[in-house]
């Protein structure tokens, strides 16, 4: 698939609802059983504001709108993020992660997609970028 991309284009915008079940599911799927991701008492004992989503869960979710847009994971050449703010997941209310994917640069058939990933209006990932083949 070849796609036309222009710098500044928003290629995807999507929100994801997380619950504690989501965190337990990711723990099982990834093998990351750090208990700050499902036990309030442990999270509190290490000074956290609550049970946190795995950083790798947030990272894993944030690339999905890009994969859906490009249609093939093989076109994702590079993907990187900084974990800048913890994502607290309330036991009752859960949490919403919003992803906006925008074209940051296009060069020689490769687009740099800049991801803005927010929770309650605050960004939780820094320098979240994917390099994607668009030819």
């Amino acid at each position: 698939m070849s796609v036309t991309v222009n710098v500044g284009d928003v290629i995807a915008e999507q929100s994801f609802e997380l619950s504690r079940d989501t965190l337990v599911r990711y723990a099982g799927a990834s093998g990351d059983f750090n208990s700050i991701h499902y036990r309030d008492d442990v999270a509190a004992s290490v000074g956290l504001p609550g049970v946190l989503a795995h950083g790798m869960l947030t990272m894993g979710i944030a690339i999905q709108p890009v994969v859906d847009w490009i249609g093939d994971s093989a076109k994702v050449l590079e993907y990187g993020v900084r974990f800048t703010r913890p994502v607290v997941v309330d036991p009752v209310l859960g949490q919403t992660i919003t992803v906006v994917a925008k074209v940051g640069a296009v060069d020689d058939g490769v687009a740099r997609i800049d991801l803005t990933v927010t929770v309650n209006g605050e960004t939780v990932l820094g320098k979240a970028q994917a390099r994607v083949a668009v030819l």
Binding site: D32, M56, I61, S73, L77, R82
Partner: protein, 146 residues
Amino acid sequence: MNPELQGRAFAPTAPYLVGREKVREFSRAVFAANPINNDVDAARAAGYRDVVAPPTFAIVLQQFTLDQLVNEPDSGIDMTHIVHGEQRFAYTRPIVAGDELTATLAVTSIKTLGGNAMVTAESAIADSEGKHVVTATSVLVVRGDA
């Protein structure tokens, strides 16, 4: 932590066979609803041998190498004092169910700042023919306090 870990040679991890149901389980966990991640026929129609793992699945392989690092007898790293600062992946091809993968760790940088250390762990993941699949890079902040 021990700065001499930088440049140390680590043995490749034991071969990890990527299972079809594991890929489906991981796909569901990261909201990867794309048919090639879940449906064998769709994956084959797209030119793959079997279902395709989502991009961040490589962390499962990298974790084995991070365990190696922490478990070095002289690492000086307390697991409970690690914060994941940054993560990157550079792909040659996607991971597909049926792949038998090994990961080889290299500690490419250790920077100390105050009592903390920032470690860059680069895990090169290869298939059973020794061909490169993906390199996963973690930057870990190891707190030196307590």
